[in-house]
């Protein structure tokens, strides 16, 4: 069994025309992925984009309606056992037995992974220790906090270091500290040689962690590239300016549209104007111009493009009027 390659790099994941129907719904629509081994690959998209479904097909949990998927060189339909030997999956919801203690859960999974007797227990303990859960080892998982569960859940995927780790929205609902722990774990795993495929709703997360990003929307791939490439689609930053009244905001839009190439967007509240900027230093120039023309702004902020903005840019044609309130 030879593994697939791209530009001389072995592929961790390769799919062709992958499609998944649930009844009349198409959750995954003709997805072609080729993810090289090593590093972090993020699948970015809103709820219902098909991220989890793609991941479940790759993890041998779901049979695709059509198309084909290869994981680490093995077809998921014909060699699911070979795939399972090399992967681990940490799902969106705690995939542990809540009745059992943290230690019992991990020791059980260690046994399933080939550790025997005492060594299963000591393997479980060393992972609990690494994730700072040794104190909670003898506690039932149902009594764990959300952050502890997520850490235990990731530890449960590492009893044997997988070649490919699937993390389904690993930081959704976590506090910043727990989220940082997850990110640290991902980085450590990658340097140990594991390929990590994660899904996320946050561009920020993809930005921090991922080498490459696939953007899914309504089951289809709408963009692929490095985080930098994705962000450049929507400019390097976004300027939000708030005005005292809708009249002022309207005057500002007219003025800015006449003087600058960047498209303006008036938010639904009618008093905030947003502009995507390719060069963030341009913000000062814009504000100065508004002041000079006597348009009074009450506050402004400069932000990174949000996932929402990346999405708007990727999924709908740019139009100056699309966000106007009377359009809705």
């Amino acid at each position: 069994m030879t593994s697939s390659q791209r530009d001389g790099h072995p592929l961790a994941v390769e799919t062709q025309n992958l499609t998944q129907h649930f009844g009349t719904q198409t959750a995954v629509d003709d997805v072609n992925l080729s993810i090289t081994a090593g590093g972090v690959h993020a699948v970015l998209g809103p709820n219902g984009a098909g991220k989890t479904t793609v991941m479940r097909i790759l993890a041998t949990l779901l049979r695709p309606s059509s198309g084909y998927a290869k994981v680490l060189g093995y077809d998921v339909l014909t060699h699911p056992g070979k795939v399972r030997e090399r992967i681990a999956l940490t799902g969106q919801f705690a995939s542990l037995d809540e009745d059992l203690t943290g230690l019992e859960n991990l020791a059980m999974l260690a046994r399933l992974r080939g550790y025997r007797g005492r060594t299963a227990k000591s393997r479980a303990e060393s992972l609990l220790e690494a994730f700072g859960l040794l104190d909670a080892a003898a506690r039932q998982v149902r009594k764990y906090s959300g952050g502890m569960r997520r850490r235990l859940d990731i530890a449960a995927s590492l009893l044997v270091r997988p070649d490919l780790l699937f993390l389904d929205e690993p930081t959704t609902g976590l506090d910043p500290r727990s989220r940082n722990d997850v990110w640290d774990a991902v980085r450590t795993l990658v340097s140990a040689g594991t390929t990590v495929l994660l899904t996320t709703q946050y561009l920020d997360e993809a930005d921090q962690l991922a080498d490459r990003v696939t953007v899914l929307d309504a089951g289809r791939i709408v963009a692929e590239g490095t985080p930098g490439e994705l962000k450049s689609i929507v400019g390097s930053g976004i300027l939000h300016i708030r005005f005292a009244s809708a009249d002022q905001a309207g005057a500002a839009v007219t003025l800015l549209d006449a003087r600058f190439a960047e498209p303006t967007e008036l938010s639904t509240d009618g008093v905030t104007v947003s502009m995507r900027l390719n060069d963030i230093t341009k913000a000062a120039e814009l504000i100065a111009e508004l002041q000079r023309q006597g348009v009074h702004l009450t506050e402004f902020s400069l932000g990174q493009p949000s996932l929402n903005e990346v999405f708007l840019a990727l999924t709908t044609p740019r139009s100056k009027t699309q966000e106007k309130p009377d359009d809705r």
């Binding site: 399972r84 969106q92 059980m108 992974r113 044997v160 640290d184 774990a185």
Partner: protein, 278 residues
């Protein structure tokens, strides 16, 4: 910003150490996989012992109730009825416990733990078979209690220890077969209580319209047809014979045959559904 970019060096080092000591995957055989899942179910019972309540209470309740409420009316004296009914009460009590395996698995499906187990590189049926094996603890407790209460009330088994052991073996075999039927339901319906609802609906006529509590000769002929076709009747008759020290090979063969047939039909269906649950 400090939280954002803070990297917990200690955590990273500890994790690196843990990852460095990883062995390669040693695949385990089906037997060890089954035992691992059995052990898991037993641990669940240890943490939530309340789930054994009916395995403990029903035997006591049923033996007392049937002996003293119906015994005099059916057989003249409670003692005489007990001698007839105990193998039947044993059968009914343990048969009703067979639905637990399916309820356990159904609960697992709802939780993410199901995906965790299905991505392990082990013999896939191990999860189901392991849960099934663990439930023999329930069967065992219920059996022991039924017999103890029965003996205290005056039941005697002419078949002796050997007859009792053989009867229990036949009963458990049938229970394991029946569990596969519930597993098919348990893998299909949405909630554990639905599993219970459907299987109890089947179990009630199956146990009551049989020779469990009354001899079929006393029933109307149209009902006798069902009673005699009901495999639970053959099961109970076999248990009665074995505990009485008599051997009816024909009944025994029917029970073995039906058990094998139920397993042969429902186990593959259950496994197929298990593999394809999305």
């Amino acid at each position: 910003m400090t939280v954002e970019n803070h990297r917990d060096e200690q955590f990273t080092v500890r994790l690196e150490d843990a990852l460095a000591t990883t062995g390669s995957v040693r695949l385990i055989g089906p037997g060890l996989a089954v035992l691992t899942f059995t052990r898991r179910s037993l641990l669940k019972i240890r943490h939530v012992p309340e789930q054994l309540l009916d395995a403990v209470l029903y035997p006591v309740l049923f033996v007392l109730m049937f002996t003293y409420v119906f015994g005099g009316a059916i057989s003249g004296t409670p003692e005489e009825y007990l001698q007839f009914a105990l193998p039947g009460i044993l059968t009914q009590t343990v048969l009703f416990l067979t639905i637990y395996t399916a309820m356990t698995i159904n609960t697992d499906i709802e939780k993410g733990v199901f995906d965790r187990y299905r991505t392990q590189p082990v013999w896939r049926p191990a999860h189901l078979v392991g849960a099934l094996l663990a439930d023999s603890l329930r069967y065992g407790i219920a059996t022991a209690l039924t017999l103890v209460v029965g003996f205290l009330l005056g039941y005697r088994a002419p078949g002796g220890v050997l007859g009792i052991v053989a009867a229990i073996a036949v009963l458990f075999m049938f229970c394991f077969a029946l569990s596969w039927m519930w597993l098919v339901i348990g893998l299909k319906v949405r909630t554990p209580s639905a599993v219970q609802g459907v299987s109890v609906l089947i179990l009630f006529p199956l146990t009551f319209i049989s020779s469990v509590f009354a001899p079929p000769e006393t029933m109307p002929t149209w009902l006798q047809g069902f009673v005699n076709a009901n495999p639970v009747s053959q099961l109970v008759d076999t248990l009665r014979d074995l505990m009485n020290g008599v051997a009816n090979l024909q009944n025994l063969l029917i029970v073995v045959g039906v058990s094998v047939l139920i397993t042969a039909i429902f186990a593959p269906i259950a496994l197929r559904i298990y593999n394809r649950i999305s």
